[in-house]
Every structure is written in structure tokens, then in C-alpha cells.
């Protein structure tokens, strides 16, 4: 995957939403319609601030995420893509994704998005069950979601992702089963399945603390995940990352870049970037962001450069989340295979080792975080023990 580190992606954060979903903890803004033009101008200005990165171009991927990017006027999208083209260039075969919600775009708008250059659509369906959608506080129905999918197809989107959520509080297992069966019937190129997590600061969290919302049990959560892995892989979707499934050749190239250390520039509110090993992130409030960009300053809120050890660790656990797993260095392989804990994980059937290539099994995906944490600690402790004994 060495070619990936030479790819260059652009992430554009569109923070606007019609309303805040009760489970959402992202940086989003409701209302603020009067700011759309100004915000898009600022995003374009920010892109131009990075013209020194032109040598990394042309862009291989562009991703409009949010928020709800489909709330924008297609003209806005066009304006941003034109700016990106002028600044970095966009490769002819580039993947250009737009996130959309079922009721924020009609046929005309989908056509216009497609015409502006977007060639991949990610539709936030979440569920094909109206009761679940109500629990999630979504403002669309299952029928509307399905209609939006057809509209997108008619608009010429041949690469569509559907986002769905499992472990919705109160939902019986059969809701998840029927949602997944509906997905299979629609046959999108790509499916993202996210376990609902109750994030601090959300309405769900408040209701949970007040005892008015019972999270799904760990057993049910594990079942839902294991089940969907089984069903989707049986239906020839490739399970290529913890939460992502794709038809062969339809992986999200943009997201794949995140997990393999590719360079990407994130523009817009609170967006993160990784450029030549340095990560930085943008201001989180609209006013601060606009003020900075309009004054010609990068709206950067912070930056970090990981030391080689930390960077390697990050790469280890990020790649372990993908189907390819991680290519272990000879010392790492040696340290791990001499660890009792590693053997225990191996015997438990969570790991697969082919030469130096370590990857998770389906059972391992269920415990990806715990396993990654274990591997990192094992490597670190083994290293410090070796160091000490040398001393």
C-alpha cells in the first residue's frame, strides 16, 4: 500500500444540519442558513491558503462530510470543487463523495450534485424501520429513504453508500434484520454499519443518566455486529474495515487513506488534516473560524506530530481495523510471538498471522480495541524490559 501514502485527499466539513439528532456529538450547526454563502467562501479561501501543497496534487479523493452537505446548494459544491481544482487539481478518476440525508435533496438537486462532479453518494439512511427512525430523532421515513436512494440512482450515482445504525435502544433484533435485508435488496455498492454509542453531552446521554433510556445490552450489540458481518460477507460484500463493507472495487478510497496514513487536507469547521506526518485541526466555532479565514489566517486550533514510536503504534491499531491488517516488522513479530498474552489471543481465534501479516478474524473484529490495546502494551513492555535488561 505504499502508493497510498502518496495519495492526497481533501475533506470538506459542512457543519449545517436541519436539526440535531439526539445521539449526535459532532460539530454541527442548526439554522444558520444565512451563513451558507459566507461559509462556503471561507472554505474556498482556506483551500487557497494551502496552495503551497499544490505539489501533492492532483487530489485523488474529495469528501464532503458533515453535518449535512446535501443542505448546500449544488452551486456551493461546484464552487468548492472549482477552487480545489484551481488550487491542487483533481485527478480525472478521483473519488468525489457527498454525504446526503434522504429528505434534504430532491431529484433536481441530486442531478445537479452529480453534474457538479460528485461521483459517490453516501446516504444517511440509518434504519429502514420507522419506529427506529423515530427513536433516533430522524426527520425522514423508511419510505423516503428508499425513494432518495432511487432518486440518486436516477441521477446517475453508480457508487452509493448507505449508512445504517445498529443497537438502537429499544429496538428488537428483527428491526436490525429487516433493515439489513432491505439493504441487500437495494444492493448499494457500499454499506457502513455503525453501532450506536451514547456519547457524553448528547440528549441520549442525558436520558440515559436520567434512566429514561436503556442502552442495548452488550450481548445484543455483539450479536448485531456478528450477524451483520456474517450476512453481508455471505452476500459478497467485502468486510474491509470494522464498520465498512463494499462490493469488490467499491471501497471508499478516501477513508482507506485515513487508515493507511495518506496525506489529507481537512477544511472547514473542526476539520482534521494529516500532512507529512503532522496532524492539525481547525477551530470549532463558526465565528472564530470565519474570523480567522477572512483575515487570511489558517484557522488552525492545534497540531501534533507523533514521535516515530507513537506514530507506529497508531498505524498498528488503525491498520488492524482493516481487512489487510498490518505488516509486522521483524522485531515486532518476534516480541509478539514470544508473549503469552499474544498466544492466548491467537488461541482464542481472534488473530490470523500469515508470515508477518497480522490481521483480525471475524471474532477478532468484535474485540478490535481490546486486542489493539493489548498488542501495543505487549510491544511496549517487551521493549522496555529488553532495554532494562541491557542496562
Amino acid at each position: 500500500m505504499s502508493c497510498l501514502s502518496q495519495t492526497f485527499g481533501l475533506y470538506v466539513h459542512i457543519p449545517f444540519c436541519p436539526q440535531r439528532c439526539p445521539y449526535c456529538a459532532f460539530t454541527i450547526l442548526t439554522g444558520h442558513t444565512a451563513f451558507y454563502d459566507r461559509y462556503v467562501d471561507a472554505v474556498c479561501a482556506e483551500i487557497r491558503l494551502w496552495r503551497s501543497l499544490a505539489h501533492k496534487g492532483p487530489l485523488q479523493t474529495v469528501f464532503f462530510g458533515g453535518g449535512t452537505p446535501s443542505l448546500l446548494d449544488p452551486v456551493h459544491v461546484q464552487q468548492i470543487l472549482a477552487t480545489a481544482t484551481a488550487t491542487f487539481g483533481i485527478a480525472p478518476e478521483a473519488e468525489i463523495t457527498l454525504e446526503a440525508n434522504p429528505t434534504t435533496a430532491d431529484a433536481q438537486k441530486f442531478n445537479a450534485f452529480r453534474a457538479s462532479g460528485c461521483n459517490r453518494l453516501s446516504l444517511g439512511v440509518q434504519s429502514f424501520n420507522d419506529a427506529d427512525l423515530k427513536t433516533l430523532g430522524r426527520w425522514h421515513s423508511a419510505a423516503e429513504a428508499e425513494a432518495a436512494y432511487s432518486t440518486a440512482r436516477r441521477a446517475g450515482f453508480t457508487n452509493v453508500n448507505l449508512d445504517v445504525i445498529f443497537s438502537i435502544p429499544g429496538a428488537p433484533r428483527r428491526h436490525w434484520q429487516s433493515t439489513v435485508h432491505k439493504l441487500l435488496a437495494l444492493a448499494p455498492e457500499h454499506i457502513s454499519t455503525y453501532a450506536l454509542t451514547i456519547e457524553e453531552g448528547t440528549r441520549f446521554a442525558r436520558r440515559h443518566h436520567q434512566g429514561r433510556l436503556t442502552p442495548v445490552s452488550e450481548d445484543d450489540d455483539a450479536w448485531a455486529y456478528a450477524w451483520v458481518m456474517e450476512i453481508l460477507t455471505a452476500a459478497s460484500y467485502e468486510h474491509y474495515e470494522v464498520s465498512n463493507f463494499a462490493r469488490p472495487g467499491a471501497r471508499s478510497r478516501h477513508n482507506w487513506g485515513y487508515w493507511h496514513g495518506a496525506d489529507y487536507l481537512g477544511v472547514g469547521l473542526s476539520a482534521h488534516s494529516l500532512l507529512d506526518g503532522e496532524r492539525h485541526w481547525n477551530l470549532r466555532t463558526l465565528h472564530a473560524y470565519l474570523t480567522a479565514v477572512e483575515a487570511g489566517c489558517p484557522p488552525c486550533a492545534g497540531a501534533e506530530r507523533l514521535d516515530p514510536g507513537a506514530a507506529r503504534q497508531e498505524r498498528l491499531w488503525l491498520q488492524l481495523r482493516t481487512c489487510d491488517g498490518v505488516l509486522l516488522r521483524p522485531t515486532e513479530l518476534h516480541l509478539l510471538t514470544s508473549s503469552r498474552k499474544f498466544h492466548a489471543m491467537f488461541e482464542a481465534g481472534w488473530l490470523h498471522l500469515a508470515g508477518p501479516q497480522l490481521r483480525l478474524t471475524t471474532a477478532g473484529f468484535l474485540l478490535a480495541d481490546a486486542i489493539a490495546g493489548e498488542i501495543i502494551v505487549t510491544l511496549e513492555e517487551a521493549r522496555s524490559t529488553t532495554k532494562r535488561s541491557k542496562r
Binding site: A195, K341, A348
Partner: protein, 600 residues
Amino acid sequence: MDVSHIRNFSIIAHIDHGKSTLADRLLELTATLSPQQMQDQVLDNMDLERERGITIKAHAVRMHHRARDGEAYVLNLIDTPGHVDFTYEVSRSLAACEGALLVVDTTQGVEAQTVSNLFLALEHDLAIIPVLNKIDMPASQVDAVQRQVIDLMGGTPDDMLLVSAKQGIGIEEVLNAIVERIPPPSGTPDAPLRALIFDSLYDHYRGVICFVRVVDGTLRKGMKVRFYATGREYEVEEVGILRLQRLETASLSAGEVGYLIAGVRVLADARVGDTVVEAQRVQQVTPLPGYRPLKPMVFSGLYPVDSEDYDSLRHALERLRLNDAAFSFEPETSAALGFGFRCGYLGLLHMEIIQERLEREHNIEIITTVPNVRYEVVKHDGTVLDVENPAALPSANAIAEIREPILSAQVLVPAEYIGGVMQLFNERRGIYKNTEYLNASRALLHYELPLAEIVTDFYDRLKSVSRGYASFDYEPKTMRAADLVKLDILINGDPTDALSAIIHRDKAYDWGRELCHRLKDLIPRQMFEVVIQAAIGSRIIAREVVRAFRKNVVAKCYGGDITRKRKLLSRQKEGKKRMKQLGKVEIPQEAFLAALKIET
């Protein structure tokens, strides 16, 4: 120095009855220190002591007082430690005196320690001056307390001084009574030297400083002396008296109290209770009575949380031992906790003090194992071995009998709480001896009690069953055989030495069940299941399971999620480092303390 003008005395009291405040007033009134120098409770100069309101380390100070007869007297106040762990040290301090002030708080009345300290003083034939303190307080009950004291030691109300140390009321009377009612020392200045070491401390510049009472003869600079018990000989470098600082003098003669510096390098060589004699005249003297070597009573393992702190921990323990001859330690290894030390203490308070000083003064985080007592194990082949660590207990089939230390304990308790207290002692395998009523409403219960039964949560329980009104005191009595078993805790089938305990068979089941239950709550869920079992020999008596994770993975990992997730992982990583790995699972440090909190 004219012996007839010397008075040597101690102040004895129950904790918080005002001993230190009274000492302050005496120093103030005799102008031993000016009010500007006055620091509250001068004699306690360690932070810990002040916080706990108890004097841990004894000191002595010389005062001058012009009595009613117009003559000038030297009064030596020898301070005593105020806790049951240090009874032996108290007894050595009392042995250096001819009299004692028995301070009783009139808002509290006579307490267990008042009684035990009084008995200790009477054993040494000391003249006792009862001092009723805190008479200015609204809750003061002078009449009732006078009756309690008369019930306890006879006498009349007229013998008792009424004092408020806090307000400075009646202090002059105390000084006069010391001169008039305590006899002067009776030693012979011309006899061969005999001096009692009643305390010592380690000074970084001078080595060990011994606090001594010269009983017979004279101690001079340059003299060759021998410490009787250790047999070691030294040349006296310096002698002197104790004001607030040391004040060098040419000599100390019979009846005097002061200090001795003689190039003693380690505290263990200047044993409290030992007799200092002139090297050339060893044959002519018999040592002073009552010496016994200090033996630790309570033991626990101390392990550094971070194994890299092992060397600093050893260094810190060495420094603590420099100043505390009663504290002992030696290296030990635990399968669960790695490299550490087995430490011996005089008692629980002593243990707490050591552990707190390690964390506070030396900044080392430590894991403490459950404290235990020293057992005598008699094997079938007749050999007897001391076991200070449950892990070192021989296998059950090799053991003929296990003996444990038994205390003679007394608890003074208001009548209405007798039932609760008796029940507690019963639960703790106490053997009732008898009850003395000090008056209609307060009883002194005498019990024999295994020391092992008070090393966990006894004090808290006593407090709760008596609403804090019971006071407790004890002294070691004997070793006695009991039906003791080793209780092992198995984690995923492996015995975990640091959690093993030696326990009475009747309690093993409850203990094991309760400990497993607590461990279950303390051990976090992890990728592998944790099976916790309690076992006696090969018999499992309790079992709990910490379920393994079913699912542990964040769904989203894009852009900013990556930084967040990395921080989360590194926090988890730090958390894991603070846990001890046992096989394929991890146990947090708190788990090793769980047994401390168990009520049986």
C-alpha cells in the same frame, strides 16, 4: 548536681486528653521557651503526629522551677508515646521517672488507656498526680471524673489538680505538686555507672543520639562505655542536657536526664531499655531490669506500584529504619506482585505511619498486602518455624499445629454498649475473662484476643458498635494453638500468593466468599474471563466470574476520531500498566487491598 532538687516525671493520658497542651503550658510557665517560640504542642514535631494528635516519638526536656519553699528545682519531663503499639517504649520512659501526671479529660472521663497507663506507672512505683483537665469546658464533669479516679486508684478529691491546659488554669499548682509529691531520684553518684536508654534517634550529622536517665554513677565525656544488651563499646563523644535543643555539659550524674552521643552508627545498636555501663566496671554492675528486644508484631508485604521504583523503595525503607529501630524489612518476591519487601511493625498504627511516610515523604506509590501476624508453626517432625508470610506456610500435611499470638486486651465501655462490644469480641474469637465496673455506668472488660483478629478492621468496628465511646488497649500475652488454615485465592486457577491469608477455619468460608465477591467488583472486565476462586487446600469454597468482553470496538475512526481514539488507547495503556498481570488477565492494585476491608 544536687539530686534532692531533681524531679523526673512523665505525663500519661488517653489520646486527646490534653497531654501535649499541658506539656506546652509547663514549658511556657517555666520560661523554657518564650511565647514567641511557642509552637502549639512543641513536643510533637512531626507533621504526621500533629495531624493524628498523638505523640509518636518520645522526647525529654529540662525545666527550671522555683517552688513554694523558695528553692530552685530541675524538672525533667520525659514525654511518652501515646499509642498502644508503643507500650514497651512507654514503659521504658516511665522507668526513667519517679512520678507521673495522670491527665484525665473531665469531658470524657477515664478511658482504657488512662487505666493501662496508670497500671504501667504503678508497676514502676511512680508517684501519681491526677490532673483533671479541660475544667473550663461546658461539658466538664469534675465530680463524676473525680469519683472515677478514686474508684480507680483510691485517694481523695483533694489529691487531684483541676486544670485547663488550654486556658492556662492551675498550671503553677501542677509545677508545685511535681516538686512536693514526686520523690527525688534515689541513685548513688559514687556507684558504678548505670544509665537507662529510654529513647534514641538518628541524626545525620552525629549518628545515633541516645536519651538516657543516669540511675547510678556519672556519665562523662571521654568515658569508655558498654551497651549491656548489645555488648558493644563506645567512647562518649558528648553528653548534655535537653532544653529545646541539646546543651552540652561535662557530665550527667545519678538522677539526671540527658543525652549521650558516642559514635553509634545504627539505631538498632542503641536499644530502648538497654543499660549503659562503664566498660571497665562491667563486672561490678547488674543491668537495669525490664529490657526486652523489640519484636515486630504485624507484617505486610510492600511492593512498588511501578516496578522501576524498587530501588527507591528500598532506599526509603532504609532511611525509615534509621530512625525507627522497631521497624524491620527484608526483600521478598511475590509471584503476583514481583519484587518487594516484607515489613514488620509494632502494630497497625505503626504500619499506617510507615506507609503514609513512604507515600508522603518519599513519594513512592506502594501496594500493601493484607497485614498478618507472626505464626509459630510446629511441624510433625517437631521443628518449629516462624511464619511471617502466609505464602511461606508449609503444606497442611506437614503441620502439626499452628500457634498464633494472643493479646490480653481490655476495653473500657459505657454500660449501654457492653452488649455490642461483647458481641464484637465474640465474633473476633475473644475469650472473656472478667468485667470490672469502674462505676455504675462504665465497665472495664477483660478479654484474651488473637492479635490476628484486630489487624484488619477491628478499630472501625469497635467504634461503630460503641458509637466511639469504647476505648481499647492491649498487651501481648502468649502464643496459643488454634485451628488455622491457609486460604488461597485462585485467579483462573492459579493461586495468587499476595491474596493468601492464614485464617481460622470457622471464618474461612465467609472470608473466602466475601473476598471473591469484592474482587469481582474490583477487577474490571477484560478480553478474557476472570475466574476468582477461594480454596482451602484443594477444596474450592467460593467462586465468582468476571465476564469477558463480548464486544469492544469503536465504530467510527475517521479524521478527528483517530486522535481521540489514540488518546483513549494511551489512557487505557497507562491504566493497564498500573495493573498486575496474572497469566492472561490483569488485576488492579485495589484488589490486593480488598481483604483489608472484609468484615468477618
